[in-house]
């Protein structure tokens, strides 16, 4: 097993075969040893017609299993609509599961709502969750009262939190004047105002510039160093790789893999990645690359002036002559690099299976 955590139930072996879901113990009698324990979790969304009958039914989760140890930084990654946010909402008691069991710090998400809420903090991604017309101080004071923080403690803790997240000098300004990164830092302060044991970070760096995202990642590291348990969802694979001790890959409402980032990467150790920076590339070139016999997968970002194309192949550098030969007229390769596969490559293989 990767990482330095000491998990309960370590007698349970971790299979090394790719694509197999790794179950670290059973959330049965000793479920309180886990910060998060999820077993067979399902969630169905139904749309009803005028007469109250079910018009449409969608299974957002169809049997999710995973556990997070106390003090662990656990990542949940998956494509849009895979079930990440639904899982987070159930675990934070905002949504009722249709089936299965989930416990947070040993407490049942169906029965122990308020006790769970007292002990967790939630950071929503994006613009949600703050009162923009009032100041950061007003926001924090309001939420500290909602969480029942002793007023004497709040008086000390709120200015300290604003210092920690670098907003002390703008604390009295209305939040609507804040940049996206500042709002996200305030989200972190809000989630910490009641000193929770477990923190849910739902895509905390989405839409941030590189510096803002780096600040948030540093804060996540600090929280981890403090011994907080963190469940992070993200779209950014490098972020999960950089921060998380273990990562669960969720696809179509199920966990399709769960392991340390390095072990997940081992699933794709049979391939190399050719990273291309091109000028003038179109879908025509991407399709030509996909048609090459030994190409496993091509991922392209064609929206910028310089395009980025990622070619997965077991041939490595030997494929380069064919990659160059497939160039249409007017397309140029600015830079090319042969790389080891990353978590993103493993992720792409997993979610496309």
């Amino acid at each position: 097993m990767g990482g330095t955590l000491s998990y309960p139930h370590t007698d349970v072996g971790i299979p090394r075969e790719p694509y197999q879901v790794l179950v670290l113990g059973s959330p049965s009698a000793e479920s309180s040893e886990w910060a998060v324990s999820v077993k067979g979790l399902t969630r169905e969304y139904t749309t009803r017609n005028f007469f109250g009958g079910v018009a449409r039914s969608t299974w957002a989760l169809s049997g999710v299993d995973f556990q997070v140890a106390v003090g662990e930084l656990f990542g949940l990654i998956g494509p849009n609509g895979a079930g990440k946010t639904t899982t987070i909402k159930i675990l934070t008691t905002l949504l009722t599961p249709t089936g299965g069991d989930a416990t947070i710090l040993g407490l049942d998400v169906r029965k122990d709502l308020y006790e769970i809420r007292r002990r967790i903090g939630i950071v929503f991604g994006g613009e949600r969750g703050l009162y923009n017309r009032v100041s950061a101080v007003d926001n924090l004071r309001y939420f500290s009262d909602l969480y029942g923080v002793d007023s004497g403690v709040a008086k000390k803790r709120i200015p300290q939190l604003l210092e920690v997240v670098g907003l002390a000098d703008r604390a009295q300004e209305r939040v609507e004047k804040y940049s996206r990164g500042m709002k996200q830092r305030l989200h972190i302060a809000k989630a910490l105002v009641h000193d929770p044991e477990l923190i849910f970070l739902d895509e905390p760096t989405i839409g941030l510039d590189p510096a803002g995202a780096r600040d948030i990642r540093n804060m996540v590291r600090e929280l981890k160093a403090q011994g907080k348990t963190i469940l992070l969802t993200t779209h950014y694979m490098f972020e999960a790789e950089e921060l998380c001790q273990r990562v669960g890959v969720i696809s179509k409402g199920k966990i399709v893999a769960l392991d340390t980032p390095s072990d997940l990467k081992n699933m794709v150790r049979d391939i190399s990645v050719i990273d291309l920076r091109t000028y003038g590339a179109t879908m025509e070139y991407v399709e030509a690359l996909r048609a090459l016999p030994s190409v496993v997968r091509v991922v392209a970002d064609l929206d910028s002036e310089e395009q980025s194309i990622r070619v997965q192949t077991p041939m490595g550098a030997d494929l380069l002559p064919q990659v160059v030969a497939a160039l249409p007229e007017g397309t140029k390769i600015i830079d090319r690099t042969i790389k080891e596969p990353t978590l993103e490559d493993a992720y792409l293989r997993l979610v496309e299976e």
């Binding site: 949600r128 969750g129 939420f143």
Partner: protein
């Protein structure tokens, strides 16, 4: 820059009641901050009452030296203001959370939503009281109208009780809004019928008899009657005494409160089940 290790450890407020009072105060405080942060608050709370008062004084030119006239004006506009702000602002305070994206954050707090909503409703109802006070000030200071009350302590008690009763009714309405944005249709459509049925516009006794059962089910109906008994000389209203009005209002208000807290629990659970909390 200080690190997270330097933070003062969290500690919770002790006691069931202490925690709820803390939430109530926080909710009222935030609602007031949001209210005053929007410069438009001046229009319904200062400009509109001023124009309303001005028109009323011009219409009844010559009769305005009587204290009763000002009282009618203050009571009518104040009670309409209280109900108007209760039904709109309270209902919209939850709608605002949905629109603002703060619904999930609010619901994620370890406190029943009913207590958070009650704080908001109390502040919003208080706005109506402030409108009434403003009209009183205009009447006395601008139009030099006299002002006397038959029984000031009874008037004060009835006013505070009616304010609480209206707030409780607003809380009941808020449960409808929590379920879906379509609930706004129901609450909006109740504004004028409740004005009429509670006797805000004119004494309930003038209503056709078929409407009276509905009027009697509304706690503010009794409160408004009690206020008028305590304030106006020679007032002819319902065939009940001041204390009977107060007792009936208290019973109905407690029933609203119990129903509101019950519905909040059910609605919160149902909203979590259907998963439409944050949809706007």
């Amino acid at each position: 820059m200080p690190s997270m290790d330097d933070l003062t450890p969290g500690k919770r407020t002790e006691g069931y009641l202490g925690q709820r009072v803390q939430v109530l105060k926080a909710s009222m405080f935030l609602t007031s901050r949001l209210f005053f942060a929007d410069p438009q608050w001046v229009i319904p709370n200062i400009i509109a009452p001023f124009i309303f008062t001005l028109v009323a004084f011009e219409l009844f030119d010559g009769q305005t030296s009587s204290g009763s006239f000002l009282l009618y004006l203050v009571l009518g506009s104040g009670l309409m203001g209280m109900w108007g702000t209760t039904i709109y602002a309270s209902a919209n305070s939850i709608g605002f959370d949905r629109w603002n994206g703060t619904m999930e954050s609010t619901l994620a707090a370890p406190m029943p939503l009913s207590w958070i909503a009650l704080g908001r409703v109390l502040f919003n109802t208080l706005q109506g009281v402030l409108t009434a006070v403003f009209i009183l000030v205009i009447g006395i200071a601008w139009f030099r109208t006299g002002f006397t009350l038959v029984n000031p302590p009874a008037f004060f008690l009835a006013s505070v009780s009616t304010f609480l009763s209206l707030s409780t009714f607003g809380l009941l309405m808020t449960t409808v809004l929590l379920l879906s944005r379509k609930g706004g249709f129901i609450t909006n459509s109740m504004e004028i019928p409740v004005y009429i049925a509670t006797g805000t516009m004119f004494p309930v006794i003038l209503l056709p008899i078929v409407y009276l059962p509905f009027a009697f089910m509304l706690a503010p109906t009794w409160g408004i009657d009690a206020i008028r008994i305590a304030a106006l000389p020679n007032y002819v209203g319902l065939p009940t005494t001041y204390w009977q009005d107060m007792a009936i209002m208290a019973v109905e208000t407690l029933a609203y409160l119990a129903l509101a807290f019950f519905l909040f629990k059910r609605v919160e659970a149902y909203a979590k089940k259907i998963g439409t909390l944050e949809e706007y």
